[in-house]
Structure formats: structure tokens, C-alpha cells
């Protein structure tokens, strides 16, 4: 049987797929049927009745909702008949009965489906003179989302999103009839990593975000598509700017990556761009104090320093937020300094500031996966850092695949949040607290049943910087032997894969510490990296940077690392620079510029080109598309290259897959006895987040997670305690997580002060008797 269906709409013959919903099939053929509750990524409910159309049935014509009707052969549909029009007017009249029509003060006005469709399909005048229902306006349902129940038209988009897509149904319809309303349970706020999506898909102004309320009118917004850089997933976004201020980020529906959704971090982490704490001028340290200098003075200082130091060793610590073009120039620049007359070494001198990277699984022996493979495989096997916190939208993709019947196997102990989705959770019986596999994998019958001979996609990376790579190898070897395996290397930070593609040989901070030689003259560049905080090697690097002869930091904020620099060069940030980035699947995507460079900031590449020139070296780029052109010429293939021009074409808006040889050179941490498992949580103390007012407090809670047996061992009764290690001491909330093995205690690494904790050293947890102490803290 063919899966093509032919049907007629308003006298036109159309084609669709078997089982397709009428509203969707029409949409694909360019016929728009008005709707409120139907959303292409949610299951249909037929709540609002706005999509009524007339169809022929054996008993004559009938009005049916097109969002719950599947197309069938020879179906005949009217979307504009008198009856349909009357129905649409009626539905709108009903919806408007209780709608407050406070459009003049509503954020949604101007892009409001209710407003627009009332214009297009509404009755034109109101007959309603009775009292509308009233609710308190608006109520906060979480720290970042507000709800105005008067405006709500009860379409259930938000509640369906939270149940079907994000799996945290903390909002629901309560009451019935005229009292029906969306709400949360008292004292159980809508605390979700994905709550902002409900604001975006609400067809009226019932759900609004604190960061955008009353900030702009949609018709005043300047808009550009871009790619989010909060993690390495590559979510497509639309940046909304007014009067040179970023005001909002929306998710775009990129079939390959985010499918319309964003995490709240990706959506709301932008206010920092306009923070008064931004670095906007060049700072040079003179006698322990920073002074402002201008660019030519800075340039002079650097050149002089390099010459003065004779034959300095120059090293680069780079972060994950640069564009491919910036990495390309960094690589060139680093090579050049290695080869120039002052230096003799031809060793790589670029180090990446993320302890989680390992050599990974690239090259001919391995087949790398895309996110699409998650949907088409029989099983997904995950062993990596916490996906929900570090790659939140990948969590949604996994959840979706599982919903469609793909089996899920989780290896412990970081992804306990995925346990409820998993068909098999492999915990302490197989995996030690040091993340070693301590049982023959082929002996695990349940695992065999799920993966043997099957199409498997694995998401793999170090769960903690202290995990040994060979344990991952064991799993990969086994999976390769018994299944048809595709691999997604799980490095979670922003443009990690861009750095991998552009830097000839990338090393880690471990290598930085071992290769740094005190006896030499040393210059260190840190570029968009803060290795002193949030790295296992933080304190070692702090010592090194204090000792180094000259430290140059390129960054957007002052931080623990720039404090140690001799020269700070302020750089442009997200939305202020154009370039490409590469996601986990090696999909190259465009980041666009919509904001002017603030203050005297420059792009990273502009600084490097300038310094190179004054060293008499020939790195010459006038603009970033020149770099892009040269960069793509080095890709393996020659068709459909990710040039700016190409990426701006509508067909390529959502990225072009491009592989490039990858050369990583990292070693395991030797001392790897884990006592405290430090993991990164979605929200934390990054300078971008704490300078984004709306979300600045979301990562402030200090807590530890452990199972109840371990908790009992420490003899703790209450839900607060004191965590001590050496001279460090913190009051912490206690969260019970019984999927953790005994004696493993998790602490978030991105909490203020927690960088003092050493995951390999002993610690103690004591009962906190006095609640007052907590508030002093």
C-alpha cells in the first residue's frame, strides 16, 4: 500500500502522508488553518476548536477539528465555507468572553495569535456585556515565569509541554468549568530547566518571562537567527534586540538539533551582555593595580615584553566560547609564535579549559553519530557527565526517542536524572565509585538483550575529569563488538568541537600543568577561559599564572583568572560577533552579529592579528568572512562548504555537517581516587549568569547529594549540614538521591566557594544544629 494520500481542500487536490493530521497536511501544502492548541511538537488535544473545518461524511457535511482528524483518501475538506466561518467566529467569541483584552499592556500584543486570529477570523464586534472572570494578575509560578490566568485561553500547550516534552509536570489545570485555571501546587513552583518554552508557545500573554516583561513591543524588535552557545548541542535561536540591547532569545525549530526548544539557561543567559560589570577597556597591571591604557599602548607592551624576555615559552589556554574563525586565528597565531625567531619548539602550545575532554572516539575506526541517529537506533547507551544539566536539550532529544520506543541504557553515576527514562540503569553493582567497570560487560544479561545485534548510538565522555579513559574504552570495545555502533562524543561545552576542528593539536589543562616549565621565561595567554575557577587544576594554574612572566587575558568579565593577568583585553561576546560554531555532531552553524561592539572591545581574532602584525608577522585579515573563506578551504570535502554565504541560504540555515581531522592529546589525571564527586549543574556561578539579573540567583543554593545509607553513616537527621574539608567549611542543603551508590557524595562544582574543595581529598559532613548559622552564611 502506498503511504500517499490524495485529498481535496477547497476544491484543490492535495497530497499527504498516510496518518498525517489534516491541519499539518494542509500546512505543508500552503493552506493555513487557524489554531491555538495545536503545536507541531505536541500531541494533539482538540481543546480550542479554532481549527474546525467542514468535511464530507456519509451522513453529510460535518464540522471537525482538523488537528485531530487524519487525512484519508478522497477526503473532501472546506476551510472557508460559510459554516466554517461561522464556527470560527463562534469559537473566537467564546474565547474572548473571559479574555481581559488588556492588549495595550500585554507583552504578547503584536505577535499574539489570539489578537491576530481575532482580526482575521473574528466576529468583528462583541456582544458580551457581562462580568468577566477575575484572577489575581499575574502570579509568579517560578523565579522566571509569571502567569496571568485572566488571559489564559486554556489551550493546554504549557501543561502538555511540561508533561510530554520536559517531563516535569509542575503546572496543570486545576478546578473545573468557569473556574478552570492553570496553576502550580502551593509551594511547588514550576521549577524546570525548560520553563521558558511554555512562555514562547503560549498563544496569548498568559505566561510571561521576568526578563522581557514590559521591555519592548514586538514590532520594534530587530531580529536575527543565530546559534546558542550555552552547550555543544547547537540550538537554533532568534536574537531579539531593541535599541542595541538584547531583550529576548527565542528557540527556532531546527529539525536536526533543538526542534524548537531551548533550556532556560540558553534562553535567559544574555542580560550579562549589558551588565555594568562588563570589561569595556584595556587594563594593564602596574604595581599591583590595574590601569586603563589604549590599544596601541597595549600592543607596544606585548611586543616589547616578547622581545625583552628573549626566548619566552608562549602558551595559550582557551575557553569554549570562541567561534571557529577565532579558533582558526588562535591556531595560526600560536603556530607562528612557536616558529618565530624567538622560539624553537614545535610542540603544540594550545590548551583547552575543560577537564572533561579526553581523546574521544574519532577517526576511521569509529562511526560518529548525529542526533537523528538517536531516533533511528534501537538503543541509546549513555555514559557521560550529567546530560540534563550540561546538555539540557540533548536530554529532551533522548526523552523523545525513548517515548518513540528506543531503549535506553544508562551507566552510573552522574546521569541519575535519566534513570526514570531508562530501560536499564547500570549502577554500583557494575561501576565503582571511581567510575571503573568492575564486572565483565558480556555477563550482564539485561544489557545483552537490549544491544546485541542492534543499532546502538552511544553518548560517551568522561563522567568526571577523574575518570580514566580506559573504562570508557572497555565499554566502546564491547559495544563495537556486539552491536552496530555509532558514537556521539560527549564534550558539553559551547564550541568545543570547533576548537577541536581548528586547533592542530589540542591538549588539556593537565598537560598545561605538566608541560609548564618554571625555569623558562613564560608568557601565557588566556582566551575566554577561567581555568583558575572550576577546574581540577585550578590551584596549580593559579600558582603558575602568578609565577609566569607575563599573562595576557582576553575576556568579557573580570574573573579569578584575569585578576592574575598583567594585561586584560576586553572582547566581544555572543551576539556581538559573527562566525561559525560546530556542535557535537560536527554540524557547522552560523552565529550572527546584531549588537555593536561595546566600549573598546574587539574580537579575539582582531587582537591576535594586531599583535602578530606588530611582531612583523603576516597574519592579515580584514574581516571575519575572509577568515571563514580560508578556514573552509581546509575542510576535507569541497561540496557544500560551511561558508557564510552558504550558511545564510535558507536550505542551510540549520547547519552543514562537516568533519575534519581531529587531533586531541590529553592524558588521564593520575591521582584519581574520588572522594567527592564534583559535577557541573546547569545553573551556577559563571560570570555570565551572575551578571544576568533574571537568573543570577538560580545557582546559588549550596547542596550535596547522597543516598540515605550514606547519610545515616554521617548520622545526620536534618536536611542541612556542614561540609568541611581542610580549612574550607560550607553550610549545605542535603538532597537524597538513592540512585547514587553508597559513600559517593556529589557536590556541584559551579557554586561560589566550592572551587576550594578537592575531589580527591577526605572531607567530613556534620550535623548543623543551629539553623541561624545557615542564614549568617
Amino acid at each position: 500500500m502506498s503511504d500517499k494520500v490524495t485529498f481535496t481542500v477547497d476544491g484543490k487536490q492535495l497530497e499527504g502522508k498516510q496518518g498525517q493530521l489534516l491541519i499539518e497536511a494542509c500546512e505543508e501544502s500552503g493552506i493555513h488553518i487557524p489554531r491555538f492548541c495545536w503545536h507541531k511538537r505536541l500531541d494533539p488535544v482538540g481543546m480550542c476548536r479554532m481549527c474546525l473545518v467542514e468535511i464530507d461524511t456519509p451522513r453529510g457535511k460535518a464540522l471537525v477539528p482538523s488537528c485531530t482528524t487524519q487525512i484519508t483518501d478522497e477526503l473532501s475538506v472546506e476551510t472557508e465555507s460559510e459554516v466554517v466561518k461561522k464556527a470560527q467566529e463562534g469559537v473566537l467569541e467564546f474565547l474572548l468572553i473571559n479574555h481581559p483584552l488588556d492588549c495595550p499592556i500585554c507583552d504578547k500584543a503584536g505577535e499574539c495569535p489570539l489578537q491576530d486570529q481575532t482580526m482575521a477570523y473574528g466576529p468583528g464586534e462583541s456582544r458580551f456585556i457581562e462580568e468577566k472572570r477575575h484572577f489575581e494578575k499575574p502570579i509568579p509560578i517560578s523565579d522566571i515565569v509569571l502567569l496571568d490566568r485572566e488571559r489564559c485561553i486554556l489551550c493546554a500547550r504549557c501543561t502538555r509541554f511540561s508533561e510530554e516534552i520536559s517531563g516535569d509536570p509542575l503546572i496543570e489545570f486545576i478546578q473545573r468549568g468557569n473556574k478552570t485555571q492553570v496553576n502550580t501546587f502551593p509551594d511547588e513552583p514550576f521549577k524546570s530547566y525548560f520553563s521558558g518554552n511554555t512562555v514562547q508557545i503560549c498563544p496569548v500573554g498568559a505566561l510571561t518571562a521576568t526578563s522581557y516583561r514590559f521591555k519592548a513591543r514586538p514590532w520594534d524588535l530587530k531580529k536575527v537567527s543565530s546559534t546558542c552557545n550555552c552547550c555543544s548541542l547547537g540550538c537554533s535561536v532568534e536574537l531579539n534586540v531593541s535599541q542595541n540591547k538584547m531583550l529576548r532569545i527565542l528557540g527556532e525549530d531546527n529539525e536536526y538539533t533543538n526542534q524548537g526548544w531551548l533550556s532556560d539557561k540558553g534562553r535567559y543567559n544574555f542580560e550579562y551582555l549589558h551588565s555594568t560589570n562588563r570589561l569595556l577597556s584595556i587594563h594593564s597591571k602596574e604595581n599591583e593595580n590595574f590601569e586603563n591604557i589604549n590599544i596601541s599602548e597595549a600592543n607596544e607592551k606585548i611586543t616589547k615584553k616578547i622581545q625583552e624576555l628573549g626566548n619566552p615559552d608562549i602558551k595559550f589556554i582557551i575557553g569554549a566560547n570562541s567561534t571557529n574563525e577565532e579558533y582558526f586565528v588562535i591556531n595560526k597565531f600560536a603556530n607562528l609564535l612557536n616558529r618565530n625567531e624567538f622560539l624553537g619548539k614545535d610542540n603544540s602550545n594550545v590548551y583547552f579549559a575543560d577537564d572533561h575532554i579526553s581523546n574521544g572516539y574519532f577517526g576511521d575506526q569509529y562511526e560518529n553519530a548525529t542526533f537523528e541517529d538517536l531516533d533511528s537506533s534501537d538503543a541509546i547507551v549513555v555514559w557521560a557527565e550529567d546530560i540534563k544539566d550540561n546538555l539540557p536539550v540533548l536530554y529532551l532529544r533522548i526523552k523523545k526517542a525513548v517515548k518513540n520506543g528506543v531503549k535506553l541504557v544508562i551507566f552510573g553515576h552522574t546521569n541519575t536524572a535519566l534513570e526514570s527514562l531508562a530501560d536499564l540503569y547500570i549502577g554500583s553493582e557494575v561501576i565503582s565509585n571511581n567510575f571503573e567497570i568492575q564486572k565483565e560487560l558480556s555477563n550482564i544479561k539485561e544489557l545483552k538483550n537490549i544491544i546485541n545485534g542492534k543499532k546502538v548510538t552511544t553518548i560517551i565522555g568522561k563522567s568526571t575529569p577523574l575518570q580514566q579513559k580506559k573504562s570508557l574504552d572497555t565499554l566502546i570495545d564491547y559495544l563495537q563488538k556486539v552491536s552496530d555502533l555509532k558514537i556521539l562524543n560527549c564534550f558539553s561545552k559551547a564550541n568545543t568541537f570547533g576548537a577541536l576542528q581548528q586547533i592542530d593539536q589540542l591538549k588539556g589543562l593537565n598537560e598545561f600543568c605538566t608541560e609548564y616549565e618554571n625555569s623558562k621565561k613564560n608568557i601565557v595567554f588566556t582566551i575566554g577561559a577561567n581555568p583558575v575557577n572550576a577546574s581540577f587544576f585550578g590551584s596549580q594554574i593559579k600558582d603558575i599564572l602568578q609565577e609566569a612572566d607575563y599573562v595576557i587575558s582576553l575576556d568579557i568579565f573580570k574573573n579569578e583568572t584575569t585578576e592574575l593577568a598583567n594585561l586584560i583585553l576586553p572582547t566581544t561576546a555572543f551576539g556581538e560577533k559573527e562566525g561559525t560554531i560546530t556542535n557535537m555532531e560536527m554540524r557547522v552553524m552560523k552565529q550572527n552579529k546584531i549588537l555593536p561592539d561595546p566600549g573598546s572591545t574587539l574580537s579575539e581574532w582582531e587582537y591576535l592579528v594586531m599583535i602578530a602584525k606588530s611582531l612583523g608577522e603576516d597574519i592579515n585579515y580584514e574581516n571575519v568572512s575572509e577568515i571563514n573563506n580560508e578556514l573552509v578551504s581546509q575542510y576535507k570535502t569541497t561540496v557544500n562548504l560551511p561558508t557564510f554565504d552558504n550558511l545564510n541560504k535558507p536550505s542551510n540555515l540549520f547547519g552543514i555537517l562537516h568533519e575534519k581531522e581531529i587531533n586531541l592529546n590529553t592524558n588521564d589525571v593520575e591521582k584519581n581516587n574520588i572522594s567527592l564527586l564534583m559535577v557541573k549543574r546547569l545553573y551556577g556561578d559563571s560570570s555570565t549568569q551572575i551578571n544576568s539579573q533574571s537568573i543570577s540567583m538560580l545557582g546559588s543554593e549550596r547542596f550535596i547529594e547522597l543516598n540515605s545509607i550514606t547519610l545515616n553513616k554521617y548520622g545526620i537527621q536534618s536536611n542541612v549540614a556542614t561540609l568541611t574539608q581542610g580549612s574550607a567549611s560550607f553550610f549545605v542543603n542535603i538532597k537524597i538521591n538513592n540512585f547514587l551508590p553508597d559513600n559517593l557524595v556529589i557536590a556541584p562544582i559551579n557554586r561560589r566557594g566550592f572551587e576550594k574543595l578537592d575531589p580527591t581529598k577526605e572531607f567530613d559532613i556534620k550535623e548543623t544544629k543551629n539553623m541561624k548559622e545557615l542564614s549568617v552564611n
Binding site: P169, L170, E172, F173, I174, R176, T184, F185, P186, E188
Partner: protein, 204 residues
């Protein structure tokens, strides 16, 4: 307040009767109502952890159905039918007399916490209209006078257990048909006295 062990045991028994835990939500809500005369937020928290759905999902169901009470009821919940069959059989006078006796208007509870009065839509006893329920035990064929007798009897004797047959005998008139409930042991709280909840047996 947390549920007492006995109630938790009962809840677990009920959950076992369903292939999916969340399907036990309906009866568990009645267990909650049996405890406090309404569904308290504490009970919602308890049920949410018992069946593994969020609190607000439990609340969503609990607040949708009118037989789940959101506010404490008195010892006796008087539900007088106001729908069509009863109406044409003079229910408005029954309603008036009950209101007058108790001094309550719709959805009110008296200060002694003895009576809660509500007028309700059809309770499925049209054949024996007009009909009244006391704690969801149905009495058919009432007259305004009999309704007052019923209320004063309840007030004077304050029976622990309400049994439909007994009240029907004492105060009822024409019955629609034999309800044929085998285990007609009545109820001791504003919760239908079906065997599933079995709330009575422990109390007896």
C-alpha cells in the same frame, strides 16, 4: 499530617489492584477524604508520592470532580438533588426545608461541624425522586417534612455509620428499584460506601 500506617496499608492494597499506579488515584482521593472530610494538601502530597505523579497532577483531578471536597465538610454531608426529575417532584420544597432546618446555604458547613449542605445535579435516583444523600448514601421519595425528620434524627442520634437502607426505611418513600448492593454496610464519612474503600470495616 502524614497518613497513619493503617491508611497507608489500605492505600497500598488499592494500588495493587491496578496495572498502573496512577490509576488508583480515584479511590486514594476518597481515602484522603475519609481522613479529613476533605482532600487536604498534606494528603495530596502523600498520594503524589504513593502513585508517582506530581502534586499538582493529583490536585488537578481532586479539584475537577465535585464529589472530592476541597474544604472540610461537617459530619454529615447533605446533598439534595435539584435536577429535573426531582424538581418536578417538588424537590424545591425539600431543599427549602433542609436549608431552613440547618440554616445553611449552598456549600456551607455549620459551626458545630455537624452538617454541610449542598444542592447537586442528578444523583441517578430519578425514579424515586425527590432524592437526598447523606454522606453519599441515597434516600428516595422524600417529602419536605420527612426531610426535616431526617435532619433532626441525625442531629439527635448522631449515628456513627450512615446506611442507606436504614434511612430509607425510616424517612424514605417510593423507591426507584432495588439498588442491589450486596455489602450494604453504609459509610462513616463523606465517602461513598463501596467495598473498595472498605473504610467502614476498620471502624466498626
Amino acid at each position: 499530617m502524614r497518613w497513619e500506617t493503617q491508611r497507608l496499608e489500605k492505600a497500598k492494597q488499592i494500588i495493587k489492584m491496578y496495572p498502573q499506579k496512577r490509576s488508583a488515584l480515584g479511590p486514594l482521593l476518597y481515602l484522603a477524604q475519609d481522613k479529613d472530610g476533605y482532600i487536604s494538601n498534606e494528603s495530596i502530597v502523600e498520594i503524589s508520592s504513593l502513585v508517582g505523579i506530581t502534586e499538582v497532577q493529583v490536585q488537578s483531578v481532586a479539584s475537577f470532580y465535585s464529589m472530592y471536597k476541597q474544604e472540610p465538610t461537617g459530619k454529615y454531608l447533605l446533598s439534595v438533588c435539584k435536577s429535573i426529575s426531582c424538581e418536578i417532584s417538588n424537590s424545591s420544597e425539600v431543599i427549602e426545608s433542609v436549608k431552613e432546618f440547618t440554616g445553611l446555604s449552598n456549600n456551607e458547613t455549620d459551626d458545630q461541624n455537624l452538617f454541610t449542605y449542598e444542592s447537586v445535579e442528578c444523583i441517578g435516583a430519578c425514579g424515586g425522586a425527590p432524592a437526598v444523600q447523606v454522606n453519599y448514601e441515597t434516600i428516595e421519595g422524600l417529602t419536605p417534612d420527612k426531610a426535616i425528620d431526617l435532619c433532626s434524627w441525625l442531629k439527635e442520634t448522631e449515628p456513627k455509620v450512615i446506611v442507606a437502607d436504614e434511612l430509607q426505611e425510616k424517612f424514605g418513600g417510593v423507591k426507584s428499584f432495588d439498588w442491589a448492593i450486596e455489602d450494604n454496610t453504609g459509610t462513616s464519612s463523606p465517602v461513598p460506601g463501596f467495598q473498595t474503600y472498605d473504610t467502614l470495616k476498620e471502624k466498626k
